[in-house]
Symmetry: C2
Amino acid sequence: MPDTDAARVTPATLPIALDAMGGDHAPDEIVAGAVQAVREHDLRVVLVGAPHLLQEALARHDATTEIPIIRAEEALAMDEGALASLRRPRSSIAVACHLVRRGDAAAAVSAGSTAGIVATGKLRLRGQPGVLRPAIAVALPTLPTPTILLDAGANAEVKPEMLVQFAHLGTAYAETALRIDSPRVGLLTIGSEAEKGNKLVKRAHELLSAAPGLNFAGNVEGHDLLTGVVDVIVADGFTGNVALKTMEGSVRYAFAELRETIQNSRTARLGGLLQRKQIQRLYRRLDPEVHGGAVLLGLNGTVVIAHGASQARGVSAACVLADELARHGVVNRIGERLAASHRPHRLW
Amino acid sequence: MPDTDAARVTPATLPIALDAMGGDHAPDEIVAGAVQAVREHDLRVVLVGAPHLLQEALARHDATTEIPIIRAEEALAMDEGALASLRRPRSSIAVACHLVRRGDAAAAVSAGSTAGIVATGKLRLRGQPGVLRPAIAVALPTLPTPTILLDAGANAEVKPEMLVQFAHLGTAYAETALRIDSPRVGLLTIGSEAEKGNKLVKRAHELLSAAPGLNFAGNVEGHDLLTGVVDVIVADGFTGNVALKTMEGSVRYAFAELRETIQNSRTARLGGLLQRKQIQRLYRRLDPEVHGGAVLLGLNGTVVIAHGASQARGVSAACVLADELARHGVVNRIGERLAASHRPHRLW
């Protein structure tokens, strides 16, 4: 491993490796997102995918000389699962991960199938030393700073010790990309008292209470996801995924019902016109596509999973997030935290 | 057990036993809710609690002759858990359940602590023959008919067989109180394919696919809670509770942010005034307090758990729901379903 300072400086000069073939709107919207990231956010991006397609798409933005292409002739289909990552060692996401592994890219970004990205990331980048299981972290749209929820779906079945590690992964995310000091960590369960929940969270509560280096704030419940009461929310990947999708669906539902309510009445419709801009801005903030995407934490390299339905805006936000994480050294911070958590004596 | 037809007719003439001492706003709002239920919905209600307090509250509504009182000198505090139900055999919720048990009330309603109500209900009414675990069912505000989610929190730890029973309990609810023919049942998990999820739901998926008498529609995800894609959503009590509270919190958050957005801009504020009524109506529909409350299914009697923060409107809605369930014989329907599910040969 390189020494910490060097590792922290290096990524800033490295490009983001963007899988141009993954996602519902690949490659056109992915390329458009790369152009946005380069022109509006001053990032360096390399596109990974089928050169002829990407050349054409770049030409439409007059960007053929701005953004390099790395060839990958294969791609994982959106409906291909974890096994495809073994069958397709030269897929665009595999090549993007490989660039990170070799030190040629700061981070990988893909809007492809989550299962495929997780499996490929694990295979190409391997877990960091001491990490029991990599986890998917998402940033929930709380203010003033987002709340990190993890695991959002990488591990349907976990052990209590893994939830403690997830707390470290999420804390490292909040410390680096969000610059939060001593992030408060909550455990997602079904009541605020320590004894509330299933066996898994009850044991995890004990471990988290005793864990050094974590600012454990106790249990949180489903209605705390968007209140910002903690900075990091820890859950097994099953519960975290259900909670995340429930949140996204509920916000979408509330806005859809609201739109219908406004359109169904003349005075309300007039009111709706007057505030359309403000409501659109709010909706964009809550829109999962613009949060920047999910991050696969615990690997020897940063991998950002953009929403499958991402358009240019979502892709560019994912590149910005990947750059933030890499530039502030989230991988090294996780390494330091896990090393420290094992140091004085093993607590679990 | 009485024969089915007689049992179905009887409850209509029986009153609802309303625990007047449970809930954040007891007894005043509970009594106000009882008055609403009697005057606006033509129900029969008896109030269970401390007579002098209830007399006073009824007098304020000129209702002392309309609504009888059954004495219960004790009450479970909102922060008392399951054990309190053993310590207080004469609590208002225990007496309400006892009235149902004796055949003097059609159903019991309480806005008290959920843990206390569940424990007291199990102790006083006992589980129905063949029921492995009673479950809490909530009606989500989908249109045109609500979607039933269960278990919403009674069992943090379950076995796959219990999820199949929850499907029967929820189906009976939808068939009776909502008059839905052959309700579609979904299994809450983290992907639409059969193999997605943790061990529990994968096994439950197999059992549900083979279960006679159920209209199993396959897996659903968190974002399906409010789309009405199925009529009944089955989950363990941990996942169900997290999902329910996440949904409630997200809807509340979306509306709060919207209110702020509207108030922060002059043109938007004007628009907001023009549509205030319509938005309030929508919010009321989505407000958990007015859904009517949660139902504890699987006992020898109907118990409705109103929201702890219920005011008169929520209490009266809970009484209406209790009456619907009792009048349409949900308890007998569950008995028939479970008997039939065991009949030709044991499938699990």
